[in-house]
């Protein structure tokens, strides 16, 4: 059963140094507040997982929380590069970042296998690409029925999955709607689950296309209103595209980035510590 906790308590209880942590969200419902709480609590050596790492991953990487990144597409959508991600891969700053990259379909199916309790999933893909030889979690298998050669991807079972949803009730049942990406699979694949929500409500009303996650597959629910900003939460607030454009300037330079993080995420504690 999910405990309703503060975000700081939930991150403190569920996310440990060295964990494999999936923070999912496909443009919509990105758990930015939770990612920034992980930064504030100074977690280190994390293996971070996401199909589409964006600004909050740039922040986690630039602040030195990540040892490894497992991903499909790492960019600032519609804007350009993730400069902290690039600096880590190209120049090893603030320290070298191991990477394991997949196609979206491949990484998606790793979650599907994890959620399904299977050791691997099968798909048509990877053959003929240089991705095939670059990751240990993709192999070739032969279909026992047709003899066809197909790609197998190893199940992914994160230590912790973190997602954001619109609402939870007081029992910790969670409801999300709109673009839900791979959130359900990432939750069901994980050992531990933290869900941040816009609000805790007395009663969850059924929604067309809504996805309900029962309280007994979740460990902690934390209220984090506005917790996806500058991403968005359908029904609550819109994506702030200007913040994504602005991030390009903030993140390009190491000092500008650190100053911004200190001011906006760490509450000035770095400036005090210097």
């Amino acid at each position: 059963m999910a405990q309703i906790q503060t975000l700081a308590e939930a991150v403190g209880n569920l996310v440990n140094d060295g964990d494999c942590v999936a923070l999912e969200g496909f443009t919509h419902l990105i758990p930015v507040a939770a990612g920034q709480e992980i930064i504030r609590q100074g977690r280190r050596d994390l293996t971070l997982v996401r199909l589409t790492p964006d600004i909050v991953f740039d922040q986690l990487i630039g602040m030195g929380c990540a040892k490894k990144l497992v991903f499909g597409w790492g960019g600032n959508p519609g804007v350009g590069s993730l400069h902290r991600f690039r600096d880590a891969v190209e120049n090893g700053w603030p320290h070298p970042l191991e990477i394991e990259e997949h196609s979206h379909a491949g990484l998606t199916n790793r979650y599907v296998a994890g959620a399904s309790g299977l050791p691997f999933a099968v798909l048509r893909g990877y053959f003929g690409t240089d991705l095939m030889g670059r990751t240990e979690t993709v192999k070739q298998v032969v279909c026992p029925f047709t003899g066809e050669e197909l790609a197998a991807v190893a199940a992914l079972r994160p230590d912790v999955t973190v997602i954001h949803a619109q609402q939870a009730d007081h029992q910790g049942n969670v409801l999300m709607w709109g673009i839900t990406g791979v959130n359900k699979e990432a939750v069901l694949a994980a050992e531990r689950v933290l869900v941040t929500v816009e609000e805790v409500v007395d009663r969850l009303d059924p929604r067309p296309g809504g996805v309900l996650l029962p309280t007994w597959v979740i460990d902690a629910v934390a209220e984090a209103p506005g917790g996806t900003y500058p991403s968005y939460t359908a029904g609550y607030y819109e994506r702030d595209n200007s913040a994504y454009v602005h991030w390009d300037t903030i993140s390009r330079d190491r000092e500008t980035f650190l100053t911004w993080m200190d001011e906006h995420v760490l509450g000035g504690s770095m400036a005090v510590g210097r």
């Binding site: 199909l51 499909g72 959508p77 690039r86 003929g128 240089d130 991705l131 296309g209």
Partner: protein, 263 residues
């Protein structure tokens, strides 16, 4: 960016090479039913097609929005506008497993940082993989779009930076090294059937699958295309010229661009 000017009666229409690429891409969608759309030029082109000749074109974005009908151009593939206007919003596993891999998409649009003569694409790294000069975003949906959409259209500018003899990383398969590779690798779609550049159009040779320049945009000479290509460019015997942008296309395009949320 140089503007091209074409005189039409008393009208003179000014547009950029990017406008020409977008218009050519929009025209190429005529007759298709379902299009898998990436952000940027492909999204603009697909929405221009909807605004002009193909109002019923079904736009599918990888965020899971099927039949999106955005009234303003989105900045990302998952803007709320796409979900709100879609016929259906499905999960990412569904999009890739049932809709793309299931062979339900007629045509996919792709871009890349590099392309070779067999329309293989690189969107991963420039330089050595372990120590890249430039770390690009990576594969995203491209490999499976190229594998399983019935056809693929590539949008890429033509220069020695983008057209390369050898890719630094093969992220996405066009035709591999020749005519047999797609079948050998079990890729069910036909692969790239059209490449649209700022200089003109290329199509794969029906036998060898090597890209062949089949059309030039107005005002472009074949020597420019040759000079922009590091290998010996194959040119069709019947080289044609694409139609310049019509007033209707340009008006449609400017109307769309006025809706773009640049942030």
């Amino acid at each position: 960016m140089t503007a091209t000017s074409t005189a039409r009666g008393e009208q003179s229409i000014e547009y950029s090479p990017d406008d020409m690429m977008i218009a050519a891409a929009a025209r190429a969608l005529r007759g298709y039913r379902v299009c898998f759309v990436g952000i940027g030029l492909p999204s603009t082109a697909a929405n221009l097609a909807r605004a002009t000749h193909s109002p019923d074109l079904v736009l599918v974005y990888e965020s899971g929005t099927i039949g999106a009908k955005p009234t303003r151009l989105p900045l990302s593939i998952g803007d709320g506008e796409l979900a709100e206007t879609a016929d259906a919003v499905v999960s990412v596993p569904e999009i890739f497993n049932y809709w793309v891999q299931g062979g339900r998409i007629d045509v996919g649009f792709l871009g890349a940082a590099q392309m070779d003569r067999f329309a293989n694409l690189n969107s991963t790294t420039i330089g050595d993989y372990e120590h890249p000069a430039v770390r690009l975003p990576g594969a995203g949906g491209a490999p499976e779009i190229a594998a399983s959409c019935k056809e693929v259209i590539v949008l890429i500018r033509q220069s020695h930076r983008t057209f390369v003899e050898r890719l630094d990383f093969r992220t996405t398969v066009g035709f591999g090294e020749g005519p047999d590779d797609r079948r050998r690798w079990g890729l069910r779609g036909s692969g790239p059937t059209l490449v649209i550049t700022d200089l003109g159009l290329l199509r794969p040779d029906p036998v060898t699958r090597e890209l062949t320049m089949t059309a030039l945009h107005p005002g472009v000479e074949i020597d420019q295309a040759r000079a922009a290509t590091p290998w010996e460019l194959r040119v069709a015997e019947q080289l044609t010229t694409t139609e310049p942008l019509s007033e209707e296309e340009l008006r449609g395009l400017r109307d769309l661009q006025a809706t773009q949320d640049h942030g």
